[in-house]
Amino acid sequence: MDLLLHPADRAFRAEVRDFIANNLTPEMRDGQRRIIGPYPEPEPARAWQQVLAARGWAAPAWPVAHGGPGWTAIQRFIFESECALAGAPIIYPIGIRLAAPVIMKFGSAEQQERWLPRILTDADHWCQGFSEPGAGSDLASLTTRAVRDGDAYVVDGTKLWTTHAHHANWMFALVRTAQTARRQDGISFLAIPMSLPGVEVRPILSIGGDHDVNQVFLDNVRVPADCLIGQEGKGWTYAKYLLEFERGNGLFSGRLRAALKRVEDGIGVERINDAARLMIAEVTFEIDAFEMLELMTIGVLEPNAAPGPVASVLKLRASRLKQRVARLAIDLLGSEALRRDDDGLRGVLVTDYLNSRAATIFGGTSEVQLGIIARALAGI
């Protein structure tokens, strides 16, 4: 591995920088700056995604056949890093990074034709229906049922912690289509239009006081049978495949660095003394290490390939680092951190600090990741 950027990569970076300078608006940047959860609000993130889609850059990890740019791993890395450091909105990942790989690998040609182009432009906004009131870390105990009735599945149950369900027009859900000896074997992967009768979305306010997640009630919802992805009973396999993308394929190091910059901007230059600089440096060294770990992981991946169990190492480190950056703001703000009446960047930092606790819970808790690491990487 040669760390020096080759002339071609340097030219690529210049091209990306030019594109960002010409297309990223102050409104888009402000939308990302005010982010207080994992994802920005659909507007103006969608506007940025559509600008990227028009250029063919909205889905860096997709294969060319489906509209990806055909970049090398290092180009992807450069692109994500440049977008993050420029303050561009995070591209909403539930469709592009989670649903799409499953649709590409296990969906029919018709489904790919129907969904992928609309995911690319965020014309369809997807949410993820995995967790339930009785099925969190023990996801295989899920009870939402889907019963085949003619040309439809009739779905009954409840999904919980559904991020952006109130913005989404599609949900991909794990549903139980059979009672089997091994619980995992009765699970299927179903796409559900959120507009169908019987779908009800109720907001849940987060620990920071804002609305990001929901409870989704599915009451006798008739979902067309052609919305089943892959085979009945294979949903667990598809979900595990998807989770490797959720956990390990995001390239978050640039985002963490941008979050650290936001902390510095938010606390104000008057608080930056040598003690603060050393604290900032300590977090920076952790981000640097994580950046290298990411590069070592994706550097060996083909486009759209799943990273394997090392994804759990990345998920664990990224989530803890997100909390570390968020807590740094509180440590440096001192008693100012008590105030919740600031509607500027300081208020954002306090709310983000509260909401960052979710990072070590969603996408598989830290404890789940440690279990996977012990099994798959330590062999115990």
Binding site: L3, L260, L278, F285, A374, L377, I380
Partner: protein, 318 residues
């Protein structure tokens, strides 16, 4: 068994390393060496750390690099790289009559790389008292007879070479520590799988599994930062990017060393605090990293003050 009885090391190990060409690694090809980079030196150092060698390997890899520019370079270099002569090595700003020098015990001479040149004192001019160190190696408290130091290298190129040599020595210490981290992790995994309590291996307990998993994560991170600093050195040489990378590597490897050492001993139970197991020697070696690795605060402050920390650490421009 594992705490060394007081010798500098094994002549057989030393000769085997020399026969492999280890001491030629950092010598330029023009001087008959292998002209290898930090990557290759790091591979050697990682193996040294994994197998807990007590011989002064990294000091002599770097000593050869320095001797290559000195007077009578051919003879001295040939003797060192063949395994016939061995040196203690220190970096200092100027000559001092006495100091503790790694590799000096039972050595054929000591080298001190000072600001304006390379000083050599032969064995005949030295008075050396052995100093056992925390990592089971033996250093020497060295007194040099008046006039014993001779300057054998200097010149306009010296400061840059000295800087490269000091950086390589520090990088090799980091890689060596990574090797010990690897070995401590592997040994601990093997131990928790075979140690039986409550009717089964202790690896069946989630609290043990999670502790091991934290060790895995720390070790992976340590490998990443070591590789980053090593590649940055080979790509860009000493400079701001390397200062940042080596400071980060020192801090994160220190973190991993502490976590792996603590958990490794803890999971070995009573065996971990006896000298019967490798983990005890690995623990001592890992404790010795931080005090040897040098400070990082100046580099940390420089990085943040310049705003460099806002840029990628990996996408280094040459």
């Amino acid at each position: 068994m594992l705490v060394h009885a007081g010798g500098w090391g094994s002549i057989n190990v030393w000769q085997a390393l020399a026969d492999l060409g280890c001491f030629l690694l950092a010598v330029p090809e023009s001087a008959g060496g292998l002209g290898a980079g930090a990557v290759e030196a790091g591979i050697l150092a990682r193996a040294v750390g994994r197998h807990l060698l007590i011989e002064p390997v990294r000091e002599n890899v770097v000593a050869a690099m320095l001797l290559a520019v000195g007077e009578d370079a051919g003879d001295r270099l040939a003797a060192l790289t063949a395994g016939n002569k061995r040196y203690g090595l220190a970096f200092a700003s100027c000559e001092q009559p006495m100091r503790t020098i790694r590799g000096a015990w039972e050595a054929d001479g000591v080298l001190v790389a000072v600001d304006d040149g390379l000083l050599l004192a032969d064995r005949a001019t030295l008075s050396v008292r052995p100093v056992p160190l925390l990592d089971d190696t033996i250093a020497g408290d060295v007194e040099v007879a008046s006039g014993g130091f001779r300057q054998i290298a200097s010149g306009a190129d010296w400061p840059a070479l000295r800087q490269r040599a000091a950086a390589l020595l520090r990088l090799m210490l980091v890689s060596e520590t990574l090797g010990t981290i690897d070995a401590a992790l592997d040994g601990t995994i093997a131990y928790v799988r075979e140690r039986s309590q409550f009717g089964g291996p202790i690896s069946a307990f989630q609290t043990v599994q999670h502790r091991v998993a934290e060790m895995v994560v720390a070790a992976r991170e340590a490998e990443a930062v070591t590789l980053l600093a090593t590649l940055t050195f080979d790509a860009a040489g000493p400079g701001a990017a390397f200062d940042r990378a080596i400071a980060g590597a020192v801090r994160r490897v220190a973190h991993a060393a502490e976590l792996v050492a603590d958990s490794g001993v803890q999971l070995h139970g009573g065996m971990g605090v006896s000298d019967e197991t490798k983990i005890a020697a690995q623990f001592r070696k890992l404790q010795a990293f931080r005090p040897q690795a040098g400070g990082t605060d100046d580099a940390a402050l420089a990085m943040v003050s310049s705003g460099m920390h806002r840029q990628s650490a990996v996408l280094v421009e040459g």
